[in-house]
Structures are given as structure tokens and as C-alpha cells.
Symmetry: C2
Subunit: 415 residues, 2 copies
């Protein structure tokens, strides 16, 4: 019996477990610290009250119900012993003939950890509902406020980081204030809320073409977002963000500027790259450890054509998970492993209502068609029929009413 | 301009605000400590993973968007000055010509407050998601566990209190373990989970007829619930519930045994009843204060026919809210106020799949027809079209697949 231990039920871990499901002679243990698989590409929609947490997640053990050789355990992996191929967790140790490590990433503050309480990031469902509460509460506080200066601070939103998450968050906050909340208040006018998107580099969406970057900027500006390029954040404290000489009074900051691989990587005892990722071979294993695969955001996987690390997107993780499973099956047959080749299916980002940007191969387009394609791809990417139907319903309702279905402040303890 | 201050956007407060919407010469301030109106009758479905929080709640200010004379504020009422007709909140004081106080109730432990951490109650959305996490986590812990005795403790669920909430919770937990989770685990068999419903009195659902009580007991027993009548809980501590001589090893206790009116009532300076409620006149005002209405769970409103206090159900609150609004409008016209007459539309409770109990006037029935009627009444009771469509979708999916759409463990801080 070949025993495979998978750490993390993200896109890679789930793809591998599915590919190994009900294969004779193979036994899988899938460990994750939460009980659900999260469709991270739509997490910003939970943070901006468009979707509910349950819409973009599904219980791991129900997804793998039919995979009788897969055991799912909710456990927190704490360290990995590479030589022994053993994962130590809070539920005890698990050793395997193969390990697949897909523990993902967390957001990073590049040496400014003190900024975190004022500028939370967005990687988990509880971070998303906390951010939703923060954003909605800012409008409530502004309505309560009699002091004009304080009101303006509550109505100013700063998003740090011009990658896909930052662009999507800034677009969604602007859209919420311009449409959804427009007529709901008596003292304030939510349409006058200020949304700033701050990017240190010269353009938005650096992984896209320059043309797409320009289009994203134009679309965001049309939505009323104040886009600041080449602007480095030099300080974040209670109530203020500092950009060089400029001090912005704001109560709500969203951090979308950087990620760092899970600290689990450090326990492997191999040299890591600057983002804390594990450098892998062309076969996505750790050099000298043919039976240890590292996938997704945790891996620094160099693309042979571009000589750059593959981006931290779902497609990379899914293809790596499937590839690792194929290698394990090949090993059992005594067949040679194939080499890993990433098939780039393109990239997309959405900017508010009926505006998106798509790049598929050499094809670059935006606007309404891109938005509908974005919708289709994301609906199809969801794990089960219930989620698809529910997301379609919420989106359909929002499309026609400009409403947002999950405008709930329920963070932390009871009010 | 007549100024009305409403405390609480529950069923009563919302009904009153709607009845006063856009009435000339009337200005309303509606205060609530959360931003949403909660459809409490379905809260147990959030606690048992069938629905998402957003399905049973709606933002108060979006419900009242069209009511231009109503100002909604998220504020926590801290005390009420009856003589000055002033409500002091964390957002400052609000005084009005009329007050409507519908601050609701919280659960009560009858002098055993130490039980609360082990036996949480169910009144708010965050309590519901915390309870959902507790229940789901118990199954996860049982699956992780190698020790048989400990496993049994994780698989034992005790619900304290045989009223509608207790009956519905016990039925839903049993159904979840028998159907939804049945094939999802490898080491444990969730169908063998033990669900106990403990009631100190001689029968379940004491506000229903004896025939309905007997039927509820039979239906719960058929679902595998161990119903204990005349059993008083004498102790609750970490890992155990004591019933007289019997000690039950359990990790999950649900408290559905008692409620107590909001502590806000104490600031009124009038004598309260045993449950902390404010005794009201036949016109649901405080004696000697014709312009202060008290409604819903906060009021002890004696029914002239039965000579008993009206029950803490949505219909009572809704009718009281509308009545108070009608009184205010009558006062403005100089017309006499009508007397408050509660029109009992009946009561119902559901016990798992396709089983419910209805009592409408002298008509008492159960089973499948009652369940469908229960469904219809609760769908229609929801505040907006989106919630209705979403709940219908989740229920439809659950009906055909036996699944539960919100099996999410996301309580407290990040894992």
C-alpha cells in the first residue's frame, strides 16, 4: 500500500486527492487546518458583501465523500521532517511514502508587522468577514458622526497594492458606495466616499500587458477610484496612511500588497527564496527528495520559458496537484515520470460592474464581454452545484438591483 | 413635528417604523446595536449549517431605504430616562415625543451563569455561527480521536430545554448526523451520534396542546433523539452534564432553556416581572407614561382572555409594533386610541425532514402537510425577495441531496 500525505486542501491538494481517489494500492491522508476548501479568487466578494462565506467554500470531506481511500482530517501541520517524510500536526504525526505540501501563503508586510492591525489582509474567510464588517461599519460610523473631519476619515478607504486583489477590492468598494449604499443614509452621501488605490510600481496589474494595465486604471478612474502609481506607503497607524510627504486621514485600509509563503516551509530545512517559498525541481519536488512535492503558493517553480517563478494562481496549483498525482501513479507502474509543463490558460481581473480584463494567449480584451467571460469562468470554477446556483442567484439579484446580499456586520464578539 | 425614537430593529421596531414611514409630521429615529434585522425563527438553521447568516437577515437601512422620514442608526442603547423620554446610547442621547422600546431578550441560566461557557445559547448570528462551529468541530474531533471513550463524548450532544428552539435544534442535529454527515467520515459513524433532549417539565412544547407534545416526542424519538422529560439539569461543567444522579459525558451542550428580557429594562426604574420583563397596560404602554410603548420579548403583556403573558413570538411583536404606530397616528389626529387585541394566528414547530407540528385555532395537525405549511409561512416571513429565493434554493438543494450548504467552521480567530 502506497501512503500519500497531503498538507492543505487548497487547489493543489484537492486536485491531487481527486486524481488519486479510489486508485488501487493507494491510501491518502489529506490534512487541513480548516474543514473547508476555499475558492480564494472570489474571497474579495465576501469582503465586499456580495457573497456569503458558504457560497465560496465547501466541506473537504463532503467533496471527497466518494473517495473511499482518502481520509480527511482537520489538523494543523506544525513541522515537516523531510528525511522521515513525516508531518507533525496537532493531531499527531503522519508519515507517508509521498508527501504533497500545499500549505499556501499568508499576506506579508515586508518588515512592517506593526501595520497589520490597521491594514488587515485577505486570505481566509474570517479575514473576509472581518473586513466586510470594517468597511460597512465605516459608513455606519460616518452616519453617526457630527464632526465633518472625522466623517471624512470614515468615508476614506485606502487599498494598498495594485495586483488583482487590490484592483478588485478598490473597484468593489467604489461600486458599493456609488450604487448599493447610495440612497441608504440620511446624513452622509456614500457616493462621496473616497477610494484610493496605492501601488508602488509604475502600473496596475504588473503581470498583465501594459495595455491591460492602462485599461484597468481608466476603468477604475471612471468608477471614481483615485489611482496612485509609483506611490510607496511609508507609514500606517491608527487613522492615517503616509505616502511620502502626504498624510491621508482614513479609518479603513486594506492590505493587498504582498504575500509570503506559509511558515511551514521553514521547518523543511532547505534554503527558501525571498518570499519564503520552497525552490522546486522541474518535477516540482524538493531537490534530492523525489517523493516530496511542493505546490501552489508554497513553491517557487521556475517556468523554463520565462525563467520566472509561476504566479500564485489557482491554475498553477491545480495543474501541479494533478501532475504530482500522475507521478505517484507512474512510479507505481514503474513508468518514467513526465516533466511538468504549465499550460497557461490566461488571466483575468474584474473591475466593478460589467468591466473586466482578460488575457488569453495573445488575445487581450476588456469591457463587457470580458466581464461575462470572467463570470462564466468563476461560476464553473466553483466546487459544487449548490455553490454555483447560489452564486448565480446572488449575482443575478445584484445585477438587477445593484444590491449586495450579505451586508452583515457580525465580526468578533456580540455587539 | 412629532419625534418617535424606536429602540431595536426586531419585529416590533421594524413593523412600527414601516407603519410610520413617510407619514407627514412624523420623524422616526430607529436605533439598533447591529446593522441588520434578524429573522430569529430560522436562527437554529444557521446553527445547524442549513442556512447562511445573510439568508435570514437584511440591512435595516436598506429595508427602510424608501422611508425618508426614518433615520436608522447603529447605536447601543445603554439606559432610558423615562421622565425625559430620552434614550442614552454610545452615539449620544436621543429624545422623542414617543418611545417604542423593543430591545428583546437574551438567554438566561437561572442563577447558573457559570454554565454559559459550556452551554451557549442562541439569540444572535454570531452565537449561531459559533454553535455551528462547535457542532461540526465535535464530529471532526471524534474522527481525529483514537480513544473510544473520548470519541463517544465528542459524539454526544445534549440540548437543554424542550420548547420550540430545543425541539428544533435536537431534530436538526439528529438529522445532520443521520443523513448529511452519514458517509463523510472514515473512522467514526456519525449515525451513532447520541442526541439528548432534556426538559425539566412533564412534556415538550408546553405552549402547544398535549396531543402535539406527544407527537413531537414520537417524531423526535423516531429520528433517534433520546427525549428525557421531568429531568432537571443540576450541573454543567467541562465535558459533563449532570441530571440528578446521572452524569453524561458530552462535549457539546446547547442551552435552549430560558430567556430573560434585555437588561435595558432595568434602567426604566419600574418594577419588572420574574423574567425581567416590563409589565405594560392594555395599551402596551408603561403605566403613567402614555407615550412610552414596550413591545415584544421585553414586555409582559397580559392577554385579557387567558390572563397569561403573551408568548415571545414574532407575531406578538409585529402586531404590537403596528398597534403602537396606529396609536401615535391616532394621537396626532386627536382620535382615541384603539385597545390592543392580539390575534393569535397559531403556532408551529418543525422536527427534522418533512415533520412539523401546527396549531391554528382549534386545528391541530402534524406530519408532511404541517412541514410544507411551516416552509411556506417561514419563506413568506422573510424580509426580501433575495432572502426568499436564496433560502428556497438552499432548502431545495438540501431536500433532494440531504446536504447542508453551510458546513463551515469559521468561528473566533483564524485557525
Amino acid at each position: 500500500m502506497t501512503r500519500v500525505v497531503i498538507v492543505g486542501a487548497g487547489f493543489a491538494g484537492l486536485a491531487a486527492a481527486r486524481a488519486l481517489a479510489n486508485r488501487a494500492g493507494i491510501e491518502v491522508v489529506l490534512l487541513d487546518r480548516s474543514n473547508h476548501h476555499l475558492f480564494q479568487p472570489l474571497l474579495y466578494q465576501v469582503a465586499t458583501a456580495a457573497l456569503s462565506p458558504a457560497d465560496i467554500s465547501a466541506p473537504v470531506r463532503s467533496i471527497l465523500r466518494g473517495a473511499r481511500n482518502v481520509r480527511v482530517l482537520m489538523a494543523d501541520a506544525q513541522r515537516i521532517d523531510l528525511a522521515a517524510r513525516r508531518v507533525d500536526t496537532d493531531a499527531g504525526p503522519f508519515d507517508g511514502d509521498y508527501l504533497l505540501i500545499g500549505a499556501g501563503a499568508t499576506h506579508a508586510y515586508f518588515g512592517h508587522d506593526a501595520w497589520e492591525p490597521y491594514a488587515p489582509g485577505l486570505k481566509t474567510l474570517s479575514q473576509a468577514t472581518a473586513m466586510r464588517a470594517r468597511i460597512l461599519l465605516a459608513f455606519e460610523q460616518a452616519e453617526r458622526c457630527a464632526d465633518w473631519v472625522e466623517q471624512q476619515a470614515w468615508l476614506s478607504f485606502v487599498v494598498v497594492g495594485g495586483g488583482p486583489t487590490g484592483v478588485e477590492m478598490a473597484g468593489a468598494i467604489a461600486e458599493m458606495s456609488r450604487y448599493t449604499l447610495a440612497r441608504d443614509f440620511r446624513r452622509i452621501d456614500p457616493r462621496k466616499a473616497r477610494v484610493l488605490l496605492v501601488e508602488a510600481g509604475p502600473r496596475l496589474l504588473p503581470s498583465f500587458t501594459e495595455r491591460s494595465s492602462a485599461r484597468a486604471r481608466r476603468d477604475l478612474t471612471a468608477l471614481g477610484v483615485d489611482v496612485r502609481l509609483g506611490a510607496a506607503v511609508t507609514g500606517i497607524a491608527a487613522g492615517t496612511v503616509t505616502l511620502g510627504d502626504e498624510r491621508l486621514a482614513t479609518r479603513t485600509v486594506v492590505w493587498a500588497a504582498g504575500v509570503r509563503a506559509s511558515p511551514l516551509a521553514q521547518s523543511l530545512g532547505v534554503p527558501l527564496d525571498r518570499a519564503g517559498r520552497v525552490p522546486v525541481t522541474a518535477g516540482i519536488t524538493i531537490a534530492g527528495h523525489d517523493c516530496v512535492f511542493v505546490t501552489g503558493d508554497l513553491a517557487a517553480c521556475i517556468d523554463p520559458t520565462s525563467q520566472r517563478a509561476l504566479p500564485g494562481v489557482a491554475q498553477v496549483a491545480i495543474q501541479q496537484g494533478r501532475y504530482a498525482a500522475a507521478c505517484i501513479l507512474a512510479d507505481r507502474r514503474g513508468a518514467p515520470r513526465a516533466t511538468f509543463r504549465y499550460r497557461d490558460k490566461g488571466q483575468m481581473a474584474t473591475i466593478g460592474r460589467q468591466r473586466a480584463i482578460c488575457e488569453i494567449g495573445r488575445l487581450t480584451f476588456g469591457g463587457r464581454i470580458a466581464w461575462w467571460l470572467w463570470l462564466l469562468v468563476h461560476i464553473m470554477g466553483l466546487t459544487n452545484f449548490r455553490s454555483r446556483a447560489s452564486v448565480l442567484l446572488q449575482w443575478g439579484w445584484s445585477f438587477f438591483t445593484y444590491g449586495r446580499g450579505a451586508r452583515l456586520i457580525v465580526a468578533g464578539k456580540d455587539p
